[in-house]
């Protein structure tokens, strides 16, 4: 295929982001600490511009460019648009937190934007090469970000662990990819999909599939490939945890959909069983261990693990309904997680991070708006109607019930009930306990408004779930 410039059009959001991040990189070199608002504004502008471009390009069609390595389709549009728009509150919260801890430096913006670029490449990849490229771009940025708090040995340790385990997972993924390549001789997903027809029980294929699924499970943080999650969430500074805990889940879903559905849809029987095992382990372990946590960042880490179980349920249903449910879930989840860490950031004080559950006690007396936001977010995570979390769970459960996996739905509901305990415990601390100190909450205007919108969005999307569902 000869190259012509029209092939660049589907990549416009990525190009805008790349130009934006380059400008931010250069401008940041020339500004003083006080003038850093300018690159920050440019960052937000870049995200919004790329997001709007994505929306404008979304026309329900599918375009494949660059010799079949890159794809733009309705799924990539919705995932990328939600990624880019959710990145805005993430940046606003992160800035608030980094300013409080005196670490508001340009590297955060550059690294995060590059990570987002990596995620977009992952979502739009149509073959293993571009997929791996995006994955590594994302991972390398995240490793560096986890170590962002340079003076903290805890952060450095977490980054080191994340890096080594990530390298191990990448190795497993690459090994799996090479197996699949060996069995099919192809690297792009449509060709692989054709090549595997009729070879469902080919031992090499299944062998490769196991390794690829493990690579995916690591990215999601599914049990037993979850070990990095609590340490990284806890070790990284909260603004970085906020990032790690929200946006990459959207990209990971894109990754899973590309490999499992676009590429290996024929092997659904095999990967369905694998995902069932991983989902069950994740929901069980995540919910149980979260109860024992006193550290709220670790608690949210285990909560993530249990939510990953739910997202897997949507994928493993193997029906369009299930895929849509999974996409709905992941977007809702990313928004909830961003909000929850955002509230923690809002509670941070200069030089002191809030990460213990008891520090939330009596929040309602200190700051009713934040308390209300936290209430909505926690109810949404627990799946209490009429918040969006309820519908996220409902759609996933409907999808797996309609493919006959009722027992799995029952187990999922059972673990959700256990999980509700630790979310509601947070609400109890916020509303019914007396404050343990009388330090006032100091939170910037932008973050406060954004948090209120974030919390109310959980309610609004719960009352009008169709707004989001119809887009997917």
């Amino acid at each position: 295929m000869a190259f012509d410039t029209t092939q660049l059009i589907p990549l416009l959001p990525e190009i805008i982001l790349l130009v934006g991040v380059s400008l931010v990189l250069v401008i940041d070199l020339m500004v003083t600490d006080k003038e850093r608002t300018w690159p920050f504004m440019l960052t937000l502008f870049t995200l919004l511009a790329a997001g709007c471009t994505t929306v404008m390009l979304a026309d329900g069609t599918t375009q494949v460019v660059f010799d079949g390595t890159y794809i733009r389709d309705p799924m990539s549009d919705i995932l990328k648009a939600s990624l880019l728009f959710l990145a805005v509150p993430v940046f606003i919260y992160a800035r608030e937190g980094l300013m409080k801890s005196g670490q508001w430096r340009g590297e955060f913006m550059t690294l995060t934007l590059f990570a987002i670029l990596g995620m977009m490449v992952m979502i739009s990849s149509n073959g293993f090469i571009s997929l791996y490229l995006g994955l590594e771009l994302l991972s390398l940025c995240l490793y560096a970000l986890v170590a962002f708090n340079r003076d903290s040995s805890k952060s450095a340790e977490a980054a080191m662990k994340y890096f080594i385990l990530g390298a191990l997972a990448s190795g497993l993924l690459l090994y799996g990819i090479s197996m699949l390549y060996g069995a099919t001789g192809k690297l792009d997903f449509p060709s692989i999909a054709q090549a595997v027809v009729g070879k469902e029980s080919d031992i090499v294929l299944v062998f490769g599939l196991v390794f690829v699924v493990i690579g995916l499970a690591f990215k999601f943080g599914a049990v037993p490939f979850h070990m990095w999650v609590p340490d990284v969430y806890d070790g990284a500074t909260t603004p970085v945890t906020l990032l790690v805990g929200s946006l990459p889940k959207i990209a990971a879903l894109g990754l899973a959909m590309r490999i499992l559905v676009d590429g290996l849809g024929e092997l659904q029987e095999s990967w369905q069983m694998m995902l069932i095992i991983l989902a069950l382990l994740s929901m069980a372990l995540g919910n149980l261990v979260a109860i024992a946590q006193e550290n709220i960042k670790r608690m949210l880490a285990y909560s993530t693990i249990s939510h990953v179980g739910f997202i897997f349920l949507g994928i493993l249903a193997g029906s369009d309904e299930g895929y849509r449910a999974a996409i709905f879930y992941v977007i809702a989840y990313a928004a909830m997680a961003a909000g929850a860490f955002g509230v923690l950031i809002a509670l941070d004080r200069k030089g002191l991070e809030v990460d213990q559950l008891h520090q939330l006690k009596g929040l309602n007396e200190k700051h009713p708006w934040l308390a209300g936001t936290m209430l909505l977010l926690m109810f949404s995570m627990a799946g209490v109607p009429p918040t969006v979390g309820f519908f996220a769970k409902l759609f996933v459960l409907e999808a797996i019930v309609s493919v006959g996996l009722t027992w799995l739905a029952l187990v999922a509901v059972f673990f959700s009930i256990i999980g509700a305990f630790y979310y509601i415990r947070v609400v109890k601390h916020v509303y019914f306990d007396k404050p343990t100190d009388d330090v006032e909450v100091e939170v910037g205007g932008a973050a406060q408004v954004m948090l209120a919108i974030n919390g109310l969005a959980m309610l609004a999307l719960g009352l009008f779930p169709a707004i989001l569902m119809n887009l997917i």
Binding site: L172, L209, V289, A292
Partner: protein, 651 residues
């Protein structure tokens, strides 16, 4: 039209949210302005909608705006059904609400929680509109519960007062009983028609008319009777019908404006509205209609009697409300739905007026509500006096006043109706007219005439209330006097409710009455020759004689008929009965379950047992997270080996 309907509903909600959440930012003036503007917009647009029906050629509209979710074919929707019945309710609700909003500016001027109060009443307006405009049972239930919630919040508005807390809890619990029946009724409808949409349910209900169901083994009941009675139990709770009426008098603990708005003009009439709306269902069950009729007539007479012995100005009006609600319910039971709704409308005006006038007196008396301490207030509060007089005349059914037309129509239609219980109901309703006149004018004379207030201090400070209080009184007095004259013909005998209310032609007493109807004047002339008019006059004269001429008689009667007085003063013992049997019984039951079931079985074994189990598991599982990198890597490799073993080697 859709935009107009949405604006009508949402304007008060937005006002409520602003006044509630930003109460410190908007301040007192901001709170009342934003809610008054919100409700004002609703009111103007509602009247516009109503005019579309009366003077234009508007069609009834059934719109589904939004599907919240679909579960097994059952759609949960938000939608509006706007026909003549709805339009009339919308206009009445928003108009009275607007008057009450304005009045509150004066009444609550020096109270704490000013913004909270405005936020609640605007929220109430929103909920009530959602209730009346609904086109499905789900939204009806939402509105039903939402008005109940706001009512609960407002009865307990003075939440530091013990009696107010007791009263709002009581209202809440009694309504639970009613709502339990109501939701069972909705569930039965959903079960047999697999739909919650009014239009669909009505369509399918005709086919279910002869369906029999077995609720308890060995019984066979008509499905429609069960559904209608269950729904009516909900109405009994909300519209305070015997024996679920006990909460309404106690609800007077709330501020007076909400007594007028919620506990007289609008919320308590939701039950009447609901039955009228469900007329296609009720017409299928004679038994249910008889039940409705008997309950209504019983309430109308017996609660009226209690009104005679009450001394709290608001409680007298509250018992009068109960009694009038009974009249409306009785009309429904006689298949004269239009007459019930007609009385609902006229009553909304004159009863809101009476409550607000009582509130005006209460302001003047510095929150002393005992009518024995009042008297001679006429001189000090002329506007309150004249408007009260007009309201009372309307209430007792003086010819040409609005109440006359609606009450006479009810009594006449019950007389003409032919079903079990009509005779019983007719005599009670006719006797009730005497009682109504007696308690109304007993209160009127004691408050406004005779010798001035006993307390000299109170006397010195008596003066007419500010304009924000008197203007709503005047604006409510106008429809109280004239609205019956102008609307009786279209509402009762005309085509107005043709599409909205369905009456089986065999039951159509109003059509029967309509044959003898020759204009409003003829109706008055006919009415003057009937017993109710003379009984009302008798009640008035009795009150005048006893309380103006010979006050000693009242005491004499009280001593001589001590047993009767005690019965009435104790309100037939319903409170004691409920508190002893139901409250006490459920507490005892609760205690048994608490000690035996909850503390031992559930807390001890199930909850704490499983919580300990979960907690133990959690504490063990957390040790998996050792912090050592090599352990993490081994976990991954073990996972790998496990999956490979399962999928590659075993298969």
């Amino acid at each position: 039209m859709e935009t107009i309907y949405l604006t009508i509903v949402l304007a008060p909600l937005i006002g409520a949210i602003i006044a509630g959440l930003w109460r410190n930012q908007v301040g007192k003036a901001g709170a009342h302005w934003v809610t008054i503007i919100g409700v004002g917009i609703s009111c103007v647009l509602s009247i516009y909608v109503l005019l579309g029906f009366t003077h234009g050629d508007a069609e009834s509209q059934n719109l589904s705006l939004y599907t919240w979710m679909v579960s097994d074919g059952l759609r949960f929707e938000i939608g509006f059904l706007v026909d003549q019945l709805t339009a009339m309710m919308m206009a009445v609700v928003t108009f009275v609400s607007l008057m009450v909003h304005i009045y509150t500016v004066g009444y609550m001027a020096h109270e704490e929680g000013y913004q909270r109060f405005f936020s609640y009443i605007a929220l109430f307006t929103f909920s009530m509109l959602m209730l009346v405009m609904s086109n499905n049972f789900m939204q009806l239930f939402f509105g039903w519960e939402a008005v109940g919630l706001v009512s609960y919040l407002l009865i307990g508005f003075y939440f530091k007062k013990e009696t107010a807390i007791f009263a709002n809890l009581k209202a809440f619990l009694v309504n639970r009983v009613g709502d339990f029946g109501f939701i069972l009724g909705i569930a039965a409808i959903a079960m047999y028609t697999n739909s919650l949409d009014y239009a669909e349910v009505f369509e399918k209900s005709a086919g279910l008319a002869n369906e029999q169901i077995t609720v308890f083994p060995g019984t066979s009941w008509s499905l429609m009777t069960v559904i209608c009675v269950l729904l009516f139990i909900g109405a009994m709770g909300k519209s305070a019908q015997m024996p679920l009426h006990v909460w309404l008098p106690d609800s007077m603990e709330g501020p007076t404006p909400i007594s007028a708005l919620i506990h007289a003009a609008t919320m308590v009439t939701a039950g009447i509205f609901m039955v009228a709306r469900m007329s296609p269902l009720y017409e299928l069950s004679e038994t249910a209609l008889s039940f409705v009729l008997i309950i209504g007539a019983t309430t109308a007479f017996f609660t009226g009697l209690i009104g005679i012995v009450q001394n709290d100005i608001k409680r007298v009006v509250a018992y009068s409300t109960l009694s009038q609600l009974g009249y409306m319910i009785a009309a429904l039971g006689a298949s004269a739905y239009a007459a019930g709704v007609f009385h609902l409308m006229t009553h909304a005006f004159f009863k809101a007026l009476l409550f607000l006038a009582a509130g005006s007196v209460i302001i003047g008396m510095h929150h002393d509500q005992d009518i024995r301490n009042m008297g001679g207030i006429r001189k000090y509060m002329p506007i309150t006096w004249i408007t009260s007089l007009l309201g009372s005349l309307a209430l007792i059914g003086t010819p040409f006043f609005s109440g006359f037309f609606s009450k006479d129509a009810i009594i006449e239609s019950v007389h003409l109706a032919d079903r079990f219980g009509t005779n019983y109901a007719y005599y009670l309703l006719v006797a009730g007219v005497f009682v109504t006149a007696l308690y109304s004018f007993r209160m009127f004379f004691l408050v406004f005439h005779g010798n001035g207030p006993r307390d000299e201090h109170a006397k010195a400070h008596l003066h007419e209330s500010p304009w924000v209080v008197t203007v709503p009184l005047v604006l409510l007095a106008i429809p109280s006097v004239v609205i019956g004259w102008f609307t009786i013909e279209p509402m009762l005998f005309g085509e107005f409710f043709k599409d909205a209310i369905y009456v089986d032609s065999a039951n159509d007493v109003l059509a029967h009455m309509g044959e003898g109807y020759h204009g409003a004047l003829g109706f008055v002339v006919h009415g003057v020759m009937q017993a109710p008019f003379w009984l009302a006059l008798g009640g008035f004269l009795t009150a005048w004689y006893i309380y103006m001429m010979k006050p000693s008689i009242a005491l004499d009667i009280k001593v001589r008929f001590d047993w009767l007085y005690t019965i009435l003063d104790r309100k037939y013992g319903f409170d004691e009965l409920f508190q002893f049997v139901f409250a006490g019984g459920s507490r005892m039951l609760g205690k048994i379950f608490w000690k035996g079931g909850d503390q031992f079985l559930i807390d001890g074994v199930a909850v704490n047992g499983s919580a300990h189990g979960v907690g133990w598991l959690a504490s063990v599982a957390r040790y998996l997270q050792t912090g050592f990198l090599n352990h993490y890597a081994i976990a991954m490799i073990l996972g790998l080996i496990g999956l490979v073993g399962w999928f590659v080697i075993l298969q």
